[in-house]
């Protein structure tokens, strides 16, 4: 992880692509929260997730990139759009999209970003990880999850199961809580 650090002044092609994709992700994420059209926000989110998947690809995490597209673009956004269309999806600008909590939300977002950036910069100040093709392939990832990280994986699956059962209980009217 800490080998000779290449100069920042002569970036490689990968680094340039990564930076461009990062800028795209941040730019489209800003558009998601600033656009005045509800459905456009969801569509900008597609661009944001796509750019993020591109970032994963550049970092050789091929499998994570495709799962990102499959789950977030293919399922979460579709669910979002379905929800928006089911309630209200006006074409054109909507006046009442701004929430009263805007200032608080901005402060929280900036604070979170500051914490994350500080931690990352502090923790990996001069560390340099070479990118080996294939290090993020499905096989590598699978053996890492099921050999080293089985416990977190199982804990997560129990959490998801609990959420699933919760959703069923809430949506069924014939299951009642104790009064």
């Amino acid at each position: 992880m800490t080998e000779a650090v290449p100069s920042y002044l002569s970036p490689t092609g990968q680094e340039i692509v990564f930076l461009l994709l990062g800028a795209m992700a941040v730019g489209s994420a800003l558009l998601v929260v600033t656009t005045r059209q509800l459905v456009h926000a969801a569509l900008w989110l597609v661009v944001c997730f796509g750019a993020l998947a591109g970032c994963y690809l550049v970092l050789t995490a091929e499998f994570v990139a495709w799962v990102q597209v499959l789950i977030y673009v293919g399922a979460v956004i579709v669910l979002l759009l379905f929800g928006i269309m089911l309630t209200r999806a006006p074409i054109g600008r909507t006046a009442d999209l701004d929430s009263g909590n805007r200032a608080v939300a901005a402060v929280v977002a900036v604070a979170t970003a500051a914490v994350l950036v500080t931690v990352v910069v502090d923790g990996f100040r001069n560390a340099y990880a070479p990118l080996d093709p294939g290090a993020g392939s499905a096989g590598e990832l699978g053996s890492a999850i099921f050999r080293n990280w089985v416990l977190p994986f199982e804990a997560l699956s129990v959490l998801l199961l609990a959420a699933l059962i919760g959703a069923i209980v809430i949506s069924r009217t014939d299951i009642r809580g104790r009064d």
Binding site: Q37, V39, H40, L43, V46, E62, F63, W66, V67, V69, L70, V73, G74, A75, I77, V78, L79, L81, F82, M85, L86, A89, I91, G92, G134, S137, A138, G139
Partner: protein, 317 residues
């Protein structure tokens, strides 16, 4: 230099396949459907049994006026046909037609295909919303609902094959394929093909289009070349679904006597014929029947197939 040339030849071949095969499938649909209904179908264009009908249609579509409704969201309206069409072109890059005959052999090719195919449906949701027409909006919503319920059995059935082959690479899956996988993976194959049809919104799963109640769903307001793109996307989708079913469940290029790519094409077009056959044979499913088929029929079947694959895999090794 030879590598650049190699990539260029592969890309040209893929674009050519993308332009030709959907038209062949479309022509096949015209003719097969006509004969099943005791009609002749197109007979004049091009002379011999109307072989040039779809080319003539294409020329007609290009000449037509490109109408964008006043109430539409112009940018999204214009983008939607592209979003519907391009994913299928991208998917074709990773589908193998013979040993070594593939655009790119991706390590996680199966996931790539499923992920990119899911993006295509965004096109029809975008079209439905941006048209500014209530029938289109309903069609878009039905598309979204259909995608959400059928994506799950599709992915589950595909992962059963990946489990059996021990790889996610499409050429790797075909290489690992043995003839006895046919009965072993049969349930998964049926589930995959059915869910794929539903994702393409082909009859009997064409509730989002349902011309007798919501005109043409998301495509109602489209004219000219944009409408042609939607039609092309549909036929390209049929080709991609048939090719994928062939690769995953029918052994791709494996087969006696004939060379590999010929077998692959034969399997693809046999499946295309089944797609057309189903369209002519079955009435459209109602929305609640659609959802019930996915959640109460296909998902449990896909889980049974996964369990079966797991048990055989563990016992056989």
């Amino acid at each position: 230099m030879p590598e650049v040339l190699d990539v260029a030849v592969r890309l040209v071949a893929i674009v050519a396949a993308f332009l030709v095969l959907p038209l062949v499938a479309g022509q096949m649909e015209h003719k097969a459907m006509a004969h099943m209904q005791a009609r002749l179908g197109p007979m004049y264009a091009g002379g011999f049994h109307g072989w040039a009908q779809l080319i003539a249609d294409g020329v007609k579509f290009v000449q037509k006026e490109d109408v964008i409704p006043a109430a539409a969201d112009r940018r999204v309206f214009g983008l939607a046909p592209g979003v519907a069409l391009v994913p299928y072109l991208v998917v074709m890059v990773v589908i193998p037609v013979g040993p070594g005959l593939v655009g790119v052999d991706l390590d996680a090719g199966l996931f790539f295909v499923l992920a990119v195919m899911g993006v295509g449906v965004l096109g029809s949701i975008m079209a439905g919303w941006s048209s500014g027409n209530k029938y289109s909006l309903m069609g878009g919503m039905r598309s979204a609902a259909q995608l959400m319920s059928y994506e799950l059995p599709l992915v589950l059935a595909a992962s059963s094959v990946a489990m059996a082959a021990g790889t996610l690479s499409l050429p790797g899956i075909v290489e690992a394929w043995q003839w006895w996988w046919l009965p072993w993976q049969a349930i998964g194959g049926v589930v995959f093909f059915t869910a794929g049809l539903a994702e393409l919104r082909r009859p009997p799963f064409d509730m989002p289009l349902a011309e007798s109640e919501i005109i043409m769903g998301p495509m109602t307001e489209y004219t000219g070349i944009r409408f042609a793109f939607f039609l092309l996307a549909e036929y390209a989708g049929i080709i991609v679904l048939s090719a994928l079913t062939g690769v995953l469940f029918l052994g791709g290029w494996h087969g006696p006597l004939l060379p590999g790519p010929v077998w692959m094409l034969l399997k693809v077009f046999a499946l295309v014929f089944v797609v057309i056959w189903l369209r002519v044979s079955y009435p459209r499913l109602r929305e609640d029947q659609l959802q019930k088929l996915a959640w109460a029929g296909l998902v449990p079947l896909a889980l049974v197939q996964l369990a079966l694959t797991g048990v055989v895999k563990v016992l056989a090794v």
